[in-house]
C-alpha cells in the first residue's frame, strides 16, 4: 500500500522513468505552444494533466505517441523518452511505438465496423488473423474495459449503435487489445454523461495496476479523484508538477492556486 500523503515512492523501471520529457519546446510554425517542459512519469501510476483550454496539455500528451507528427509545421526541441529511449530518434518505428503507447481520444471514435472488428483491428494490422487468438484477445480486452456483460451477446453489432459511454469503453478495449504498457487519455470523459464518466473513472483506477496512464482533463475534480500525480499547464508551460494531493491542498505556485480555486479557467 502506498502512503496516502507525503512523498509517494516512485516506481522506476530499470533506473529510468516510464515517460520522460526533457526541456521540450514545441512550435506550430512560428508559434511556440510548449515551453521548456520537463516532467517524469513513474510506472503504474495515473498522471493527470490539467489547465485551461489551449494551454498545451493535449499537445504535450500527443508527443508521447507522436500524434503531432501529422500537424503541418509541427516542430519539437528537446527529448521525449519512453523507458529511457528517445522516441524521436531517427530509426524509431512509429508503428512499434504506438503498440507500446495506446491512446484514447476525447470523443469516442469507434470504427464504423462491428464491436468485434473494432477490438481485433489492432491485432489484424499486425498480421494476426487466427480466429482463436483473436476471439480470446477480444474477450479479454472487452472484459478489462468493463464492457463484456453489456455486449457479449452481440459482438457482431455495429459499434456505432452503442451509447457514447459504451463506445468510449470499447475504444479503451480496442487500445488494450494491442497490449500497450502506457495509455494516453485525452479528456476521455468530457463528451460523456455523469454515469458513464464514473464508469470510465473507476476503469482508469483498475487499469493502473498494469498500465502507466496519463490523462488530460479540464475537470479538476476528476483529476483529484483518479490521479496520483498532477501537472498544471498554463500558456504552454508546466507551472507545477507533483503529487495530486499536494497540488490540490498545498500548491506552491500562485497560478496553480488560482486555477484550483476556480479563479480562472
Amino acid at each position: 500500500m502506498l502512503k496516502e500523503s507525503g512523498e509517494m515512492k516512485d516506481r522506476i523501471k530499470g533506473g529510468s522513468y516510464m515517460l520522460e520529457s526533457k526541456n521540450v519546446n514545441v512550435f506550430y510554425g512560428d508559434k511556440k505552444v510548449l515551453q521548456d517542459v520537463t516532467l517524469q512519469v513513474p510506472e503504474n501510476t495515473v498522471t493527470a494533466l490539467i489547465g485551461p483550454s489551449g494551454c498545451g496539455k493535449s499537445t504535450y500528451l500527443r508527443l508521447f505517441n507522436r500524434m503531432n507528427d501529422y500537424i503541418e509545421n509541427f516542430r519539437k526541441e528537446g527529448d521525449i523518452l519512453i523507458d529511457g529511449k528517445d522516441i524521436y530518434r531517427k530509426d524509431a518505428e512509429i508503428e512499434e511505438l504506438r503498440k507500446t503507447v495506446g491512446m484514447v481520444f476525447q470523443k469516442p471514435n469507434p470504427f464504423p465496423k462491428s464491436i468485434y472488428e473494432n477490438v481485433a483491428y489492432g491485432l489484424r494490422i499486425q498480421g494476426i488473423n487466427n480466429k482463436d487468438v483473436l476471439d480470446e484477445a477480444v474477450e479479454k480486452s472487452i472484459k478489462k474495459a468493463a464492457l463484456w456483460d453489456e455486449v457479449k451477446d452481440d459482438l457482431k453489432k455495429n459499434a456505432l449503435a452503442l451509447s457514447g459511454g459504451q463506445q468510449q469503453r470499447l475504444c479503451i478495449a480496442r487500445t488494450l487489445a494491442v497490449e500497450p504498457s502506457i495509455i494516453l487519455m485525452d479528456e476521455p470523459a468530457s463528451a460523456l454523461d455523469p454515469i458513464s464518466t464514473a464508469k470510465i473513472e473507476s476503469l482508469i483506477y483498475e487499469l493502473k495496476q498494469n498500465y502507466t496512464i496519463v490523462v488530460v482533463t479540464h475537470n479538476m475534480h476528476q483529476a483529484g479523484r483518479i490521479s496520483d500525480k498532477t501537472g498544471f499547464f498554463y500558456l504552454g508551460e508546466l507551472v507545477e508538477f507533483g503529487d495530486t494531493k499536494q497540488i490540490f491542498t498545498n500548491p506552491k505556485n500562485k497560478k496553480t492556486e488560482n486555477y484550483i480555486s476556480g479563479r480562472f479557467g
Binding site: Y70, K99, M103, N109, P112, Y121, R124, I125, L160, R174
Partner: protein
C-alpha cells in the same frame, strides 16, 4: 403603399418565372424522350439486338454496337478505376502541400474542362500511332479512361475528405501504418461515395462519341469484337452514323439505338443515385 404592392407582385411573378424555368428543363427532357420512344420503340426486337449492321435499314441491327459498348465499358473501368482512385488517394493522403500539390490540383481542374475531342487527338497520336494499338478497343478505352480520370479523382478525393479525421487518428494510434489505415479504414468508409462517382464517370464514357471518332472507331463493323485489339464500334457511333443518313428507316434505327443507349446510361445513373442515397442514410457522420 402602392410601391410595396408593385414589389410584391413582381416577387410573385418572378417566382412563377423560376417555376417555369425549372419545369421547362424537365419538360424538354420529357418531350425529347417521348419523341424518341414514339419513333423507335417498335423497332426494338430481338433481331434488332442480334443483327449485324446492314445497308438496308430493316435488316440492320446493333449487335456489334452494343457488344462494343460493353467492351469499352469493361476495359475503361479496368483502366480508369485503379488509376483514378490511386491518384485520388495520393492527392488527398500523401501529397504534401507545396508547388507539386498545387500543380497537380490545377492540372486536374483543367483536365476536367478539356473538350473530349482533344482527348481523341491525344489518343490517336499516343495509343493508335506511337504505341501502335491501331484503332482498337484498347486504344479507345485508354482514351476514354484518360477522359474520365479527373471525374474519378475528384469524386475519390471528396469521398475520402468526408471520412472523419478521428477514425484515421484511432487507427494510427493503434500502430497502423498509413496504407493499413487507408486500405482498412478510409477506403471502406468512403467506398459508396467513390463507387457512385465511378459509375457516373463510366456513364459519361459510355455516351462519348467524338473522341472515338478521332481515334478511328468505325461506323461499319461486320463482326463482334473478340479481343481488346479488335476494331470496334459503339452505340453512340452507330447512332451518329444512322443520323447522318437521309433514309427514314435509318432515322428510326437511330431512335431505337438511342433508346437502348439511354436505358443503359439511365440505369447506371439510377444505380449510382441509389448507392448514394443508401449510404447517406447509413452514414453516422
Amino acid at each position: 403603399m402602392n410601391n410595396a404592392r408593385v414589389n410584391r407582385i413582381k416577387d410573385v411573378l418572378f417566382k412563377y418565372f423560376g417555376i417555369v424555368c425549372t419545369l421547362s428543363g424537365l419538360i424538354i427532357l420529357a418531350i425529347f424522350i417521348l419523341n424518341i420512344l414514339i419513333d423507335g420503340v417498335q423497332r426494338i426486337d430481338w433481331s434488332f439486338m442480334s443483327s449485324l449492321p446492314s445497308r438496308f435499314p430493316e435488316r440492320a441491327g446493333i449487335l456489334t454496337a452494343w457488344t462494343g459498348t460493353f467492351w469499352i465499358f469493361c476495359l475503361t473501368a479496368a483502366i480508369a478505376i485503379p488509376i483514378g482512385v490511386g491518384a485520388g488517394v495520393y492527392l488527398e493522403e500523401y501529397s504534401k502541400k507545396g508547388w507539386l500539390a498545387n500543380l497537380l490540383e490545377i492540372n486536374i481542374a483543367n483536365l476536367a474542362g478539356v473538350p473530349s475531342i482533344i482527348y481523341g487527338i491525344l489518343g490517336l497520336e499516343v495509343f493508335v500511332r506511337i504505341l501502335g494499338f491501331g484503332a482498337s478497343l484498347l486504344a479507345g478505352s485508354l482514351t476514354l479512361a484518360l477522359l474520365i480520370l479527373p471525374i474519378i479523382i475528384v469524386a475519390t478525393r471528396e469521398a475520402i475528405r468526408a471520412v472523419p479525421k478521428t477514425i484515421k487518428e484511432a487507427s494510427f494510434a493503434l500502430g497502423a501504418t498509413k496504407w493499413q489505415t487507408i486500405s482498412r479504414q478510409v477506403l471502406p468508409a468512403s467506398a459508396s461515395s467513390i463507387i457512385t462517382g465511378i459509375i457516373l464517370a463510366l456513364s459519361r464514357a459510355v455516351g462519348e462519341t467524338a473522341p472515338l471518332i478521332v481515334v478511328g472507331a468505325l461506323a461499319y463493323v461486320p463482326f463482334v469484337a473478340k479481343t481488346p485489339m479488335d476494331e470496334f464500334t459503339v452505340l453512340p457511333m452507330q447512332i451518329f452514323n444512322w443520323v447522318s443518313r437521309p433514309q427514314h428507316g435509318f432515322t428510326i434505327n437511330a431512335a431505337a439505338a438511342i433508346i437502348v443507349l439511354l436505358c443503359f446510361v439511365f440505369l447506371m445513373i439510377g444505380i449510382a443515385v441509389y448507392i448514394r442515397n443508401r449510404a447517406q442514410k447509413k452514414n453516422p457522420w
